[in-house]
Every structure is written in C-alpha cells, then in structure tokens.
C-alpha cells in the first residue's frame, strides 16, 4: 500500500485507477472475513437493540399523544427539536456523561428511531375511520378493548412504516458511532480512510452497510404483510 504522503502530494493523480488500491478486491474480503463479520455483527446488534427499545417506548407514547390531545403538542414538539439536532452533536452531549461506550451510541440511536416511530404510529392511529370506532363502541367495546382490538391493529400499516423508516435510517446512522469507537461497519469505513485511504475496505464496508439496510427493510416488509393480511385482500 502506498503511503499517505504520496496521496496527499499527488492529489488529482490519485484519482485515476491505482492498481495497488482498487475499489474492490476479493483478496481483501477473503483475508479480512473475520473483521468484516465482527463489524457487521456489531452493526446489526446496535441497530436491533435501538429499534426494539425505541418501539417499546414509542408505541405507548404515541397512544398517549393520541388519547390526550394536550400531550400531542409537547410530544411532537420535543421529537421535532430532537430531529433537528445532528447525531454527532447528540453524541457530543451524551459522551461527557455516558463516556466512550456503546451506551452513548445506543441512547442516540434510540432517540432518533423513537421519534420516527412515534410520528408514524400517531399518523396510523389518526387514520382509523370514525365509522369503525362508532361501530365498535356500538358493539359495546370499552376503551381498552377498542385500543387493543380495533385501533392498534388498524394502525398497523402506519406503525410498520415507522419501523421500516426507523430501521433503515438507524443502519445508516450507526456509522456515526465511530466517533466513540462503536460504529460497526462505520469503524471500517472511517478506519479505511484514515489508514492510507484504503479503498477496498471503505467500499466493502459501505456495500455491507447498504445491504444490511435493504435486507432488514425487506424482512420488515414481509412482516408487514403477515400482520396486515386485510390490506392484501383489498388490493387483490
């Protein structure tokens, strides 16, 4: 591998295809399979942990915002402000208190996923037709049964949309965790840049990252079909 200095000096010349630093190399992949898999595993675990915790917190929050009109403003306002603050700044707020640990990354990821899911769940709940609610009340449904058996199931498409957007965004966002050393594949992307601009490592990690997002999105799409069979019957 050429030295960092030669790159900096040659500038534009680097641009061409340097046979010593190709964009993709099978030998890189085969020689570094363990490293790649370890980074992928960290990436997947951070994503899953963040999305699962965010979902568990977000759905009750959305139900609260839906049931009590006075809470809608504060909950949506808080999530809006949070959304405007970049991830790197959020990690910067957390790091002095939570340290250089995965917890810092995880809290940040949970907060961002949380608001996507809250907003989409709320949209889903609001789209439940008033006639359906009337009919259910007429049939003697109480508040709890109404929520559990009518409103939440009918809000499923909204909830699942939120989950999908949150999951795909989280996969991309994990890379920023590199700043505290827990960025999954992001560690390899930035690491590759800082180690003599090592292209095969940057590109392989990027491709794995995009592939992970698409695979998880597809899995959630299939899950959506399973939990909302009626949407398929209607379109078929």
């Amino acid at each position: 591998m050429p030295s960092k200095v030669s790159y900096a000096v040659s500038g534009w010349a680097v641009a061409g295809d340097d046979p010593r630093n190709p964009w993709f190399s099978w030998s890189y992949v085969s020689q570094n399979t363990d490293t790649l898999l370890a980074a992928l595993r960290e990436h997947l675990l951070l994503t899953l942990a963040a999305v699962v915790v965010a979902t568990v917190l977000a759905i009750p929050l959305a139900v609260l915002a839906y049931r009590f009109g006075t809470l809608t403003g504060p909950i949506l306002g808080f999530t809006g402000v949070l959304y405007t603050i970049p991830s790197l700044a959020l990690f910067a707020f957390l790091a002095p208190f939570t340290g250089i640990t995965p917890v810092t990354v995880l809290i940040g990821l949970i907060l961002y996923a949380l608001l996507t899911i809250v907003r989409n769940t709320l949209t889903g709940l609001r789209q439940v037709p008033a006639e359906v609610l009337d009919a259910a009340r007429g049939m003697g449904y109480g508040r709890g049964a109404l929520l559990w058996r009518i409103e939440l199931p009918l809000a499923m498409p909204g909830i699942m949309t939120g989950l999908r957007i949150a999951t795909v965004s989280t996969v991309a966002l994990v890379t920023v965790g590199e700043i505290v050393g827990f960025g999954g594949l992001g560690n390899l992307i930035i690491g590759g840049f800082n180690t003599n601009f090592y292209r095969p490592q940057i590109m392989t990690a990027t491709l794995l990252c995009v592939a992970l997002a698409l695979v998880l999105d597809l899995a959630l799409l299939l899950l959506t079909r399973l939990v909302t069979p009626w949407t398929r019957r209607r379109t078929a």
Binding site: A8, G11, W12, V14, A15, G16, V81, Y83, T84, I85, P86, S87, L88, A89, L90, F91, A92, F93, A95, P96, F97, G99, I100, Y112, T116, R119, N120, T123, T161, I165, V168, S169, V171, A172, L173, T175, V176, E178, I179, V180, G183, G186, I189, I190, G192, F193, F197, R199, I202, M203, A205, T206, C209, V210, A213, L214, D217
Partner: protein, 241 residues
C-alpha cells in the same frame, strides 16, 4: 457537572472564537459548504421534480430514490468522494451533501405539482393556456408552498449533515467536536460538549429562521387556504444526519 463547567470555560475563551480554526471561522465554513450543497441540490432536483410533476410521470421513481437514499450512510459518501476523480477538498464534501439534499427537494417539487387541483388545471387549459403557460402561471405559483417546504427540510438537513464532514477533516463546526474527542474525554470533554451545543444552536436557529421565511414567502391568496403541504410529507422524508 464538570463537563458543563468545562464547556462554559471553553466557550468563554475569546481565542476559541477568533482563532483561524475557531468558532467564527468554522461557522463560516459550515454555512458556505451547506449553502453550496443546497444550491447544487436545488439546481438538479427542482427542474427534474417540476418536469416530472408537470408531466405526471416518474412518481414511483421519486419514491424509490427517496427510500434508497436513506440506506446510504452519509459517512460512506464523505469518505468515498474524495478518493474519486473529484479529489480531496471542499468540492467532494459539497457534492456528497448535495446528493442528500436532492430527495426532499425532488419529492416536494413533484408533490407540489401533482397536488394542483385537476379542476384548476382544466380551467387553465379551457382558457387556452399552453403547457408552458399552464406551468408558469398556474402550477408553479400553486406549488410554491411545497417548494419552500422542501427547501427548508433540505437546508436544515444539509446543515445538520455537514457536521459529519469532520470525519474526513473537511471543516465545519463538526471539527470542534471531533478535535475534542481526539483530545480524549478528560482534556476535551468540555470542547466536545461546547461543539455539540454550537451545532445544535446553529441547526435550531436555521430551522426557526427558514420556518419564518417559509411563512413570509407563502402567497397571500394561499395563506388561509387548505393548499399547504401536509406535515406528513416532511415526516416521511429521510433524515439521517
């Protein structure tokens, strides 16, 4: 909490503001990179979105672009672009950020044109307007709220994302955070926190400013009407920053 005290001390040092790589210089750099990226994004996305919306074609493609863009980490493009023919320096960073500005601009431009009431369009045609006249005199003015909404979302997102340029030593306020992390938490904790605060203030400030501008820009005839972009358009758009 010593972290907060350290941050206050760091912010109170005038040199940290006026140094060649101080807060003022970094803020200027941050705003310049962001403005260039948003301008570039507008130059590409608006003509395309307006044309697609006017012609009523390419809706699924717009959605696909928006969804796919979410899966690509900003950090990856920021590291890849400088290693291509673009070379090191600001152009690579501006280009990477511009790519992330395109989906909200494109989607809102397309939607704004599509949301024009078909009856209004028919009335225009009935009055003998050609396709180009219809676009200029009827569709575009009615799409202004959507274009403005897309602009605000894209601009705020780019300003937020520009922080990540620090990963490749690309300037902007993110550098204050990354340099702080480089010093370690004991020595750099205050700087990290101060940097995070500055970035948050810049982003929230710009969001507020652009929201006001958006309101002022709304044509008077539309101010009370229902022809406003729904909040859900913004919610459904990508937001990795």
């Amino acid at each position: 909490m010593s972290g907060i005290d350290d941050a206050v001390v760091w912010l109170n040092d005038p040199l940290n503001w006026t140094n060649p790589d101080g807060i003022l210089a970094r803020t200027g750099e941050h705003l310049w990179i962001s403005a260039a990226a948003v301008a570039l994004g507008c130059a590409v996305a608006w003509p395309l979105g307006i044309w697609l919306g006017h012609a009523g074609r390419g809706g699924p493609a717009v959605v696909t672009v928006t969804n796919l863009s979410r899966a690509i980490p900003t950090v990856a493009l920021l590291t890849i672009f400088p290693l291509t023919a673009i070379g090191f320096g600001q152009p690579a960073i501006i280009l990477a950020l511009a790519l992330f500005a395109i989906p909200p601009l494109l989607a809102n431009a397309y939607l704004g044109l599509r949301e024009v009431d078909p009856e209004v369009r028919d009335a225009g045609r009935g009055m003998g307007l050609s396709g180009g006249q219809l676009l200029r005199k009827v569709e575009l003015p009615l799409a202004v709220p959507y274009l403005a909404n897309g602009f605000r979302i894209a601009a705020v997102q780019v300003i937020a994302t520009a922080t990540l340029a620090a990963f490749v030593n690309g300037g902007g306020l993110g550098m204050i955070i990354s340099r702080g992390f480089g010093l370690g938490m004991n020595a750099g904790g205050g700087q990290v926190l101060a940097g995070g605060l500055l970035v948050a203030v810049l982003c929230l400030g710009m969001e507020g400013l652009l929201a006001l501008a958006e309101k002022a820009l709304l044509p008077r005839a539309l101010r009370r009407g229902a022809h406003r972009p729904p909040a859900s358009v913004a919610d459904a758009l990508p937001g990795e920053a």
